[in-house]
């Protein structure tokens, strides 16, 4: 461990000498490229782009956003190679598919470019490719925090509505929630499928069969929207403790109407903003946070809703 800090200190000092101050003693103008896996049509990433631009202006650095137009991860690997060839000070990228992207990212790191992983991936995967850190929402931890919060509000049993059962990472949210709540997950996670009608019926069936359930967790708008309808039909809306991941129009309305207690936001703004700030300060002053950064969970409740609604799609 000691050796690690020593290496860190040495490389930090070396870096300060190398890049912090340009030949004329002027600070600023570092260049960072953000490569995402999102296709052109994915509007969720608009927040990321806005945050990136804002961070660039505030820190006085150049920032660029690149993405594969069709969301093709193999094309994304080429984008990372291309970004590396242009010799930026740092690359910020998602780790959407480690098998495909690891080599390209690793080559960039080895060529002397600093990399921060954001959004997709895990702290372990980020360390494996030699990235400085991971900035994102670890799914288990987010679920755990939500579980603790629900426990504090008096919840004792729950239903987890999982509409992406095929993705083990998303199921971690349910696992974390159960642990945070201090109950056994057991069979309280249901495979809801993607069809709204089916989801609604399954939620109703579960609640009828388990009438003592006093909490519900949904994993995104796909499962949250039909669950709202199911609760309305059962006359439980506002009566049962209901939290969800991610935000959407119906979720925001549900929070306003008191049907949903909170929405968990992974805060894409921070996922783009913080890496720029962290890298700039690292390159200028050799300072680096000692750990990964969790951009989420950020809990959105009825209290902060006005700001969320006002900035929705822009910075929230």
């Amino acid at each position: 461990m000691n050796a690690f800090f020593k290496t860190l200190a040495v490389s930090a000092v070396a870096l300060m000498g190398a890049t912090a101050v340009n030949a004329d003693g002027h600070i600023g103008g570092e260049r960072y490229v953000l490569v995402s896996h999102a296709p052109d049509s994915d509007s969720w990433w608009n927040t990321i782009r806005n945050a990136l631009t804002l961070a660039g202006e505030q820190m006085d650095v150049e920032v660029e956003y690149r993405n594969p137009p069709t969301g093709d991860i193999a094309d994304m690997a080429r984008l990372i190679e291309q970004a590396a060839a242009s010799g930026p000070d740092g690359i910020i990228t998602t780790l959407a598919d480690p098998t495909v992207l690891n080599d390209s990212i690793r080559a960039a790191v080895d060529a002397g470019i600093d990399v921060i992983i954001m959004n997709s991936g895990t702290p372990e995967q980020a360390r494996d490719v030699g990235a400085l850190m991971y900035v994102g929402q670890p799914e288990y931890d987010a679920g755990f925090a939500a579980g603790q919060r629900a426990a504090g509000d008096g919840v004792t049993s729950f239903l987890c509505v999982n509409h992406v059962i095929s993705n083990p990472v998303v199921a971690e949210r349910c696992n974390g929630f159960a642990d945070g709540l201090g109950v056994d997950l057991g069979d309280s996670m249901i495979d809801a499928g993607q069809d709204p009608q089916e989801i609604q019926n399954r939620v109703m069936a579960y609640l009828n069969a388990n009438p003592d359930t006093d909490g519900i967790l949904t994993l995104g708008p796909t499962s949250a929207d039909p669950t709202i309808l199911a609760l309305e039909e059962l006359g439980l809306a506002g009566d049962i403790y209901f939290g969800t991941f991610d935000l959407g129009e119906n979720i925001v309305a549900g929070i306003r109407d008191g049907v949903i207690e909170w929405g968990i936001d992974q805060q894409p703004f921070l996922q783009a903003y913080l890496p720029v700030v962290v890298m700039t300060n690292y390159h200028r002053y050799g300072v680096l946070p000692g750990n990964n950064i969790n951009s989420g969970p950020g809990f959105i409740t009825a209290d902060g809703l006005e700001l969320v609604e006002a900035l929705a799609g822009e910075y929230r």
């Binding site: 069709t70 080429r78 291309q82 060839a85 242009s86 598919d97 098998t99 080559a107 080895d110 002397g112």
Partner: protein, 376 residues
């Protein structure tokens, strides 16, 4: 085609052979637009992005790989287009072939070379079916191959979803370890050259990590080698063989070609199989380089292939074009696409630029050809 044996048929005064000046002969070559375009594009980016890393070793390797990808599918698309048809299922075929290799080689555990051969066989059969439907029904290839665009994409998602409940299949690198056939799609050749270049300070080396001291480029990827092989083979077939003449004839005027004994149907079916072959080569290179196959690979690649071919001077209506031109078109496309990044053009605008440059190239090509050939 007859330049090597002038007037062989009937002596120097044969009225069927028209004498042409060398300059004019050069001007009517379909590659002309491509050559001019390549020079223009390199000057353009040399000025605009000369010091951005675009022309350092990594940058060159980057746009070369992108261009090579385009070239591989453009060769098939070009020959098919000269034969008067075109294929919208290229992109879906890439995804399909990749998943096929992964299913046979990883999920069902066959040796990788068997998986590759089976995949080639399946894809060639699908190419032949494309062709047979087109020639038997007389339907436009646009409709037939559009259908296959959806059919193949559907299967590509359905099969791994049903069998494995996932649409990305990894583990190909491990499964292909030491496989002789997989190696010809993913090895770096001439590595010594780059070591020598690094030793002499021509290219950079890795500054940290497990590969510290090694050159930034470990060799020429097989992707690029395949692009060269296919371009040269395609060029020779199209310009130096009887079959090449049949392709031109089938695309120029199919009925006239039939009258003089060209097996038009067979030619067209073979060309559909050629595009399928090229797509499968593309898929193999991609799958073995990146170690995984995904159901969404290759989306929109069919248009990129057609764009490269059209920039390269081929006519959408068939009967005119050249593989060399298509290769140059692919080079232009790749260099423009990557170069705009190095020139720091905002990524959403970058597609606008790309569109304008494509349009410009095609209009220019058509214009030059009309003037020179006197075609209306």
């Amino acid at each position: 085609m007859s330049e090597t044996e002038p007037a062989a048929a009937g002596g120097p005064n044969d009225e069927r052979i028209k004498d042409q000046g060398g300059f004019r002969k050069w001007l009517i070559r379909p590659e002309l637009g491509g050559i001019v375009g390549v020079i223009a594009v390199f000057i353009f980016f040399g000025v605009l992005a000369g010091d951005s890393g675009m022309f350092n070793a990594q940058g060159i390797m980057n746009w070369s790989q992108i261009s090579a990808q385009f070239m591989i599918i453009a060769v098939g698309a070009c020959m098919l287009m000269v034969a008067g048809e075109f294929d919208l299922s290229v992109g879906s075929m890439i995804g399909f072939a990749g998943i096929s290799i992964a299913m046979f080689g990883v999920v069902w555990g066959l040796p990788m070379w068997v998986a590759i051969l089976i995949t080639f066989a399946i894809c060639l059969v699908i190419g032949a079916i494309n062709g047979i439907i087109v020639v038997r029904t007389g339907l436009p290839s646009f409709i037939v191959t559009l259908a296959f665009l959806f059919i193949l994409r559907g299967f590509t998602i359905f099969v791994p979803q049903t069998v494995e409940s996932r649409t990305i299949i990894g583990g190909i690198e491990e499964a292909a370890e030491g496989d002789w056939l997989a190696a010809i799609f993913n090895t770096d050749v001439a590595g010594w050259l780059f070591v020598w270049m690094a030793d002499n300070g021509i290219i950079g080396t890795f500054s940290r990590g497990t590969r510290e001291g090694e050159p930034l480029i470990s060799g020429i990827p097989m992707l690029i080698v395949w692009a060269f092989i296919l371009v040269i083979a395609g060029h020779i077939i199209l310009t130096r063989t009887k079959f090449g003449n049949w392709i031109f004839a089938a695309g120029g005027d199919a009925q006239a070609a039939r009258y003089v004994g060209v097996p038009v149907d067979r030619v067209k079916i073979t060309m559909f199989m050629t595009t399928a072959f090229c797509s499968t080569v593309f898929a193999c290179c991609q799958v073995f380089e990146f170690g995984s196959a995904a159901a969404d690979r290759g989306i929109l690649k069919e248009f990129e292939a057609i764009i490269a071919v059209v920039i390269g001077g081929a006519l959408l209506t068939g009967g005119y074009g050249s593989v060399m031109g298509a290769a140059l078109g692919a080079l232009i496309f790749g260099v423009v696409q990557q170069g705009l990044f190095f020139a720091d053009v905002e990524s959403s605008l970058f597609r606008v630029f790309l569109g304008i440059i494509l349009l410009f190239a095609v209009v220019l090509n058509t214009y030059i050809r009309r003037i020179i050939t006197g075609e209306r």
